[in-house]
């Protein structure tokens, strides 16, 4: 066994993993400040990348996280979505639309007495699952709902 070859291979493997992590947004090159627009997360075109960018990968479903959204939205430009987290100490809620060109639509952080409860109106491009990610006590929870769209809300 050629020792040098093994080391080179090992090194290549490790840097490959690192590049993969960077691409997935796990290692963010810039720090996200509390109220700075998280460009990397919002401009991610891939749902999984956006999900990771908001720290929502590996989230557990929890019945205490409730999402209200219409089953059929006639107008994709205005889809009312309510997310209520009954999980104590909910500190943030992010809402993503799986099939939108840019999946992440909004992210809210709560402090000083604000309850983990938010209602927004979203544009939904096509029939898609809408996913809510809530963080409480360092744990991540998710809830999702499928919304059927008859007229898309993005583009034309």
């Amino acid at each position: 066994m050629d020792l040098l070859r093994r080391t080179v291979l090992k090194g290549a493997g490790a840097s490959g993993v690192l590049a993969g992590l960077l691409a997935a947004g796990v290692l963010k090159p810039t720090l996200a400040y509390a109220n700075d627009w998280n460009k990397a997360a919002f401009e991610a075109k891939d749902f999984d990348v956006a999900l990771k960018a908001v720290g929502g990968d590996g989230a557990a479903t929890n019945a205490a996280l409730v999402m209200k959204a219409p089953e059929i939205a006639e107008n994709g430009a205005v889809v009312p979505v309510d997310v209520t987290s009954n999980i104590p100490n909910t500190t943030s809620i992010a809402i993503l639309t799986k099939k939108n060109p840019f999946p992440l639509s909004s992210q809210f952080e709560f402090a000083n007495g604000a309850v983990g409860d938010v209602s927004v109106r979203l544009k939904v491009a096509e029939t898609s699952a809408i996913v809510a990610i809530a963080k409480a006590d360092g744990k991540v929870y998710s809830a999702q709902k499928e919304v059927k769209v008859t007229v898309g809300g993005c583009g034309g």
Binding site: N35, A77, V78, L104, S106, A111, G113, V120, C154, G155
Partner: protein
């Protein structure tokens, strides 16, 4: 300067319900106008809700939030007469802050 927001803050039991309507085109940067030209992105990026000067909700939003966005939040520990201030800033640097009192 953008049009003023409409803010309503109302006590429902021990929780204050805050509803905000912002006046903003919220262009995604994906839409094309009648001449087939892409309309440049113009949307709110960050917003905060403050109760008596203390930030209670800070949000980041994308162009995929509907035009003239409406938000609803709930805050505990507020009482009638408290001041609720909401502000936003968009990707062109425009911003706006409006205030109301809890009813």
């Amino acid at each position: 300067m953008a049009d003023p927001m409409k803010i309503r803050a109302q006590m429902k039991g021990d929780v204050c319900e805050v509803r905000v309507l912002m006046s903003h085109p919220m262009e995604t940067g994906q839409r094309k106008d009648n001449d087939g030209k892409t309309v440049p992105a113009h949307h709110i990026q960050t917003m905060t809700v403050a109760l008596n000067g203390k930030t209670v909700v800070s949000g980041q939003i994308a162009g995929s939030v509907s035009r003239n966005p409406v938000f609803g939040f709930k805050v505990k520990g507020a009482k009638a007469g408290d001041k609720v201030a909401v502000s936003w800033k968009d990707n062109k640097g425009d911003s706006r802050t409006d205030e109301t009192t809890v009813a």
